[in-house]
Symmetry: C2
Subunit: 176 residues, 2 copies
């Protein structure tokens, strides 16, 4: 983890600064990144102002029990799919009651999975206006694929934050 | 993360090999390590044979809602306490239905928390025979404290695995 522009650390720092300014919160659902996305975020001092927590759903049954991914999504599309990434992002956002939910799922290797090749990764960002999901075809070893997946989902969050207007702070009704 | 003996990576690799041989499973509940413990474990190829998943409970309310830490434990002892680490390890083991549950909670800095100094960390390991909990007084910066917390909880797991007999594989009843 370096601090160069475009690195996971730099993207995490920028996203957390934006979220803190906006008064918004963040949670993550991690499959192939296995905690690395959360670790990248919590490496930033003050991350707790916006980062609430995460579910690392390495086993498929955890995706269903802790993230409410429908069993039919797994049965029909598999866990390496845009449908599963979408359900994970929505699930963690709902369970942890945050403004934003991130998700990563895919094949880090060394073995393929569900007939999908090493490097096929799906990332998703759920926010107030819906879900953005992106398919990645990554190359490199296990570590490189995991690190690049973190960068890509943080880049997707940054794009969403640039597009989505900040939720206005709630005002008390004027009872005067 | 290096592969030197005693490093987090080496401890993770050894624990995962032991667990796979024993046919046992593992889950983690992370507070101050914020995903780094899970990332260290899932950096090992084949981690999914034993590592099931984790809850990163960065916000206090997630400790209660996803790990079943009793509100009275938080109110009475605070989240930086042996009682909270114990409840987190038991909670993640029960929720994720694994043989072993690990937990980390403490103050990574830069600021103190609940009047506890930076570097006060509690780690716990819940297994078939109960819970082991250990208080650490760590020094160094935020990253060093987080990395050392991961090493210490993995060392505690290794000790527990050396002490606890493997759960015998279930045998089918002889109906002959």
């Amino acid at each position: 983890m370096t601090n160069e522009p475009g690195s996971g650390a730099a993207l995490a720092r920028r996203a957390l600064e934006d979220l803190a300014e906006r008064g918004e919160s963040l949670a993550a659902a991690e499959s192939l990144t296995g905690g690395l996305l959360s670790a990248t975020l919590t490496d930033v001092p003050g991350a707790s102002r916006s980062f609430t927590g995460a579910v690392v759903s390495y086993a498929t049954r955890i995706k269903e029990s802790l993230l409410d991914v429908p069993a039919e999504v797994v049965a029909t599309h598999g866990v390496v799919s845009g449908e599963c990434a979408t359900a994970m992002a929505l699930g963690v956002r709902a369970r942890l009651r945050t403004t934003w939910g991130l998700a990563t799922t895919g094949v880090a290797g060394p073995d393929s999975q569900e007939g999908k090749p090493v490097g096929e990764v799906w990332v998703a960002v759920a926010g107030p206006s819906g879900v953005e999901v992106r398919r990645l075809a990554l190359s490199g070893d296990r570590r490189a694929i995991r690190e690049q997946s973190c960068r890509e989902v943080l880049a997707l969050l940054t794009e969403a934050l640039d597009t989505e207007p900040a939720i206005p702070a709630r005002e008390e009704p004027d009872l005067g």
